[in-house]
């Protein structure tokens, strides 16, 4: 049986009271997506995920995906029927345009669904996630014929999608890719090359796979400026929409890896495969940028999602496992949840997870504004906020995913290290999330290199001031909000100082800024999380629900007093510059230098 409890009540609270979803529902185009409808959808969706998808998680990990001798790939036995039900239930279509048979709901609603899907089974969830990326790219840059041919079936989930960027020599540096695309007389292109690490590049859950492939046309400029994006369907599509012959793409092997065993990670070989250009030649990176924000937000949400599932299981375990006698308890022994250090671990998970859920949805709501606000300045500002928050959501979400699943595992003691409990699976599964969709190092570079400089720093400064408005509200809210206000104020000060340092230093010494980028991004994550938890505590007072108000207050206070102060501690690392990072050369970093010195003279 599945033990996943979908956090629908928290999602509903956050949407309604913390991130301003009711304003999104008032935007033109979203009239049908009122809060009550959305909450009902999330309830039914949570029920589906918990009962259909969540039970496939552990068996899928044990069984894993397998490549067959004929080059086909089978996913774990439970995946195919669950995917069939997922398609029938239509959950993948919710946030896409009605024009292509989607539900026309806001992205924020789609993201809430993604959280529950990824909690239920992340290896499974990757298939719809990659499809979503491909849909996004086609929606914005495909021509009408391409859209009509591919989108309805991809949106329903009958066909799945992939994203083909990575090659052996082209990982973080996408511009180094060498896959070739040669124009043919009929307007199509012949695609030849090898892609690696392609998620769901081959599988048995759908009849058709629509590969989006980045490749280079002859004489294209070097680097990212010379990349084009192609649709390469696994089976060529006949004019009547039926599937024709197998295209020249094959799965050479699948990887053996730390986690997400159910999700095939493929080496794909393209040999003279027929490709259809999306948009124009050399626009590939532009197209990737369009889908990047949403894909990165989704991956940040995976960190939250797996953290949530691991936490729920750890919480159950902490109430069952009895060891030692807690202070003041009577009897033979206590449930471990009664020991202060176990409480610390549980509350730390709960508070961080609450902060992450708020941060992800806050970003998603701004994505909706950036596309649907009738006012152009409103759209532009929302877009800036999305740009600023996306690297933070991706890195903070996934780094915490790793840390929190580790903490959940720790709650189990020895049992956490034993596969049977499932705790270690979460820890293994989540570990990919800081790596793919732009490593967290690349995210930090994006934050300091691209996002801070927007409007000469005015964009980020305005956002900081917006956050600081919460201090006055906290001051008016009464004594029990004092410690939250004081700590937030202190940390905002430090973050502002670090930001000014970054803005000042950036132009003259980019290496110094890059050196501090990761700790600096973490400061942002910690501060935005504390800010949104404070807003939750304030909002919860206004609702007639004493239990909710108490929970939100405790979470905000615990976070402000016990977790947030780490932010200030990172100030030194964020602003230290590059001196010590480069003070030792590679030889000094290894033992060889010392060995040479100590070598006896003979």
């Amino acid at each position: 049986m599945s033990n996943y409890r979908p956090p629908v009540s928290d999602l509903a609270f956050v949407l309604e009271h913390v991130v301003g979803y009711p304003d999104v529902a008032r935007l033109p185009g979203f009239e049908h997506a009122d809060l009550a409808t959305v909450v009902e959808l999330l309830e039914q969706c949570g029920d589906f995920m918990a009962n259909v998808v969540a039970p496939t998680n552990q068996p899928g990990d044990v069984e894993g995906a397998r490549r067959q001798p004929d080059g086909s790939v089978t996913t774990p036995a439970s995946f195919k029927p669950a995917y069939r039900q997922y398609v029938d239930a239509g959950w993948g279509s919710v946030p896409f345009p009605e024009e292509f048979d989607g539900g026309g709901f806001p992205w924020s609603v789609g993201l809430a669904i993604q959280e529950m899907l990824a909690s239920s089974n992340m290896a499974f969830a990757l298939c719809p996630l990659l499809t979503q990326g491909a849909i996004d790219a086609l929606l914005h840059h495909g021509d009408q014929a391409q859209k009509l041919r591919y989108l309805p079936k991809m949106i329903s989930g009958e066909w799945t999608g992939t994203m083909n960027l990575t090659e052996p020599q082209a990982g973080s540096d996408v511009g180094a890719l060498t896959t070739r695309a040669v124009p043919r007389a009929d307007g199509t292109y012949a695609i030849t090359g090898q892609k690696i690490y392609i998620t769901y590049g081959e599988h048995d859950m759908a009849d058709q796979i629509v590969h989006l492939v980045l490749a280079r046309t002859p004489n294209a400029p070097a680097g990212t400026k010379g990349i084009s994006c192609f649709i390469v369907p696994k089976f060529l599509v006949n004019d009547d929409g039926s599937l024709g012959e197998h295209n020249g793409v094959n799965c050479l092997s699948i990887e053996h890896k730390l986690g997400i065993h159910g999700a095939p990670t493929c080496v794909l070989s393209y040999e003279d495969a027929t490709g259809y250009l999306i948009g124009e030649e050399n626009l590939g990176m532009r197209i990737m940028f369009v889908m990047m924000n949403s894909a990165r937000l989704s991956v940040g949400t995976q960190g939250l999602a797996i953290g949530e599932r691991a936490y729920q299981q750890a919480l159950d375990f902490a109430q069952e496992r009895r060891q030692g006698l807690a202070i003041g308890a009577t009897g033979v022994n206590s449930a471990i949840i009664d020991h202060p250090d176990v409480r610390r671990m549980l509350l730390t998970q709960k508070a961080y997870l609450a902060a992450l859920r708020r941060l992800m949805l806050f970003n998603a709501v701004h994505m909706d504004r950036s596309t649907h606000d009738p006012d152009e300045t409103g759209r532009a500002r929302a877009n800036e906020i999305v740009g600023l928050l996306t690297p933070i959501c991706k890195s903070f979400g996934t780094d915490l995913g790793v840390e929190l699943t580790s903490l959940a595992l720790q709650v189990y003691g020895g049992m956490g290290y034993i596969e049977e409990t499932g705790a270690s699976q979460h820890y293994r599964d989540v570990r990919i999330t800081p790596i793919y969709e732009g490593t967290n190092g690349i995210q930090a570079a994006d934050l300091v290199g691209r996002k801070l400089g927007i409007r000469d720093g005015a964009s980020v400064t305005e956002f900081l001031s917006t956050m600081r408005e919460v201090e006055a509200e906290l001051a008016d809210a009464g004594d029990e909000f004092d410690s939250i206000r004081l700590e937030l104020g202190r940390q905002f000060d430090t973050l502002e100082t670090a930001t000014q340092w970054m803005l000042r230093t950036g132009r003259a010494d980019p290496n110094a800024v890059l050196s501090g980028s990761t700790p600096y991004l973490r400061m942002w994550g910690l501060c935005t999380g504390g800010w949104l938890l404070a807003r939750s505590a304030l909002a919860a007072r206004g609702i007639d629900d004493a239990e909710l108000a108490e929970t939100q207050l405790v979470l905000a206070r615990f976070y402000a007093e016990q977790l947030l102060p780490q932010s200030g501690g990172l100030f030194g690392a964020a602003t230290a510059g590059s001196r010590d990072l480069f003070a030792l050369d590679a030889a000094a970093l290894s033992d060889s230098a010392r060995l040479r010195q100590n070598a006896p003279l003979n």
Partner: protein, 256 residues
């Protein structure tokens, strides 16, 4: 064909279930109210037929105001419309009265086939479909493990202690299904949205006529008491005589 499915709101099986000691009724605040799983299967039987045949499916319930959420779920799963019998006079109605009221509603509504779960997970009476069929004067095929519906008949299999019985009846008829019938589908996302626009008719006792309002039989709760706490069990230590002791223990309770 018009298929009416009887659905009931029950406390979630996984939640705590308590009686209200003052009224002797179920404490509905005790856990989340959901559509009875067995009724979802009854609905599935109707929807499966509707998938490939021309049929109208109506979900019918008698229950408090909160039962409308469950009707919404029935509509989201695919029922075309719903009927809600809602009347404060019906609070605490027993099986006999409930059957009378439902039969009156079915007569008013019209039907070719009535499908119910074999027994509700809260009351566990298991006789309501039979009572309804009796009131309506139509055949009853109860406790079906499988259901085959045609335009003018139903057939199915029922497990008995000794084997399997094949039963069939012409329509109109009442049937009840067991947990062995197909698992219910999950509501589809667009179905949930469509459900908001589907009609839900609310009928009070007055809408159903005098016969339904006045039941000649009525159960009355005379007294209720808390379930006694479990007493410590008897431990038998095997010193060679455990077998005899065990037999005596069971015999004393007339268990053997």
């Amino acid at each position: 064909m018009k298929i009416v499915v009887l659905v009931k709101q029950v406390p979630d099986t996984w939640g705590a279930r308590r009686l209200n000691l003052d009224t002797g009724w179920l404490d509905r605040g005790g856990s989340e109210a959901v559509i009875d799983e067995i009724d979802e299967r009854a609905l599935e039987a109707a929807l499966a037929y509707q998938d490939s045949n021309d049929a109208e499916v109506v979900a019918l319930t008698m229950g408090p105001d909160s039962a409308k959420d469950m009707l919404r779920k029935s509509l989201a799963m695919g029922a075309d419309s719903a009927v809600h019998i809602l009347d404060s006079r019906l609070a605490g109605a027993d099986l006999a009265w409930t059957a009378r009221v439902i039969a009156a509603a079915l007569t008013k509504l019209g039907y070719d086939l009535v499908i119910a779960g074999n027994e509700s997970t809260d009351g566990r009476g298991g006789v309501l479909p039979a009572l309804v069929a009796e009131h309506l004067g139509v055949p009853l095929a109860s406790y079906l493990d499988s259901v085959a519906i045609t335009a003018d008949s139903i057939a199915g299999e029922r497990s008995t202690e000794l084997g399997t019985m094949s039963v069939r009846a012409p329509l109109p008829a009442v049937i009840s299904v067991t947990e062995r019938t197909a698992e219910a589908r999950f509501p589809n996302f667009k179905g949930i949205l469509r459900a908001k626009k589907k009609p839900v008719t609310v009928w009070s006792l007055d809408d159903l006529g005098a016969d339904a309002a006045a039941s000649p039989v009525r159960s009355v709760v005379l007294a209720t008491s808390e379930r006694p706490a479990r007493s410590a069990g008897t431990q038998i230590v095997d010193d060679g005589t455990a077998g005899v002791e065990l037999a005596e223990f069971l015999a004393a309770r007339h268990l053997i």
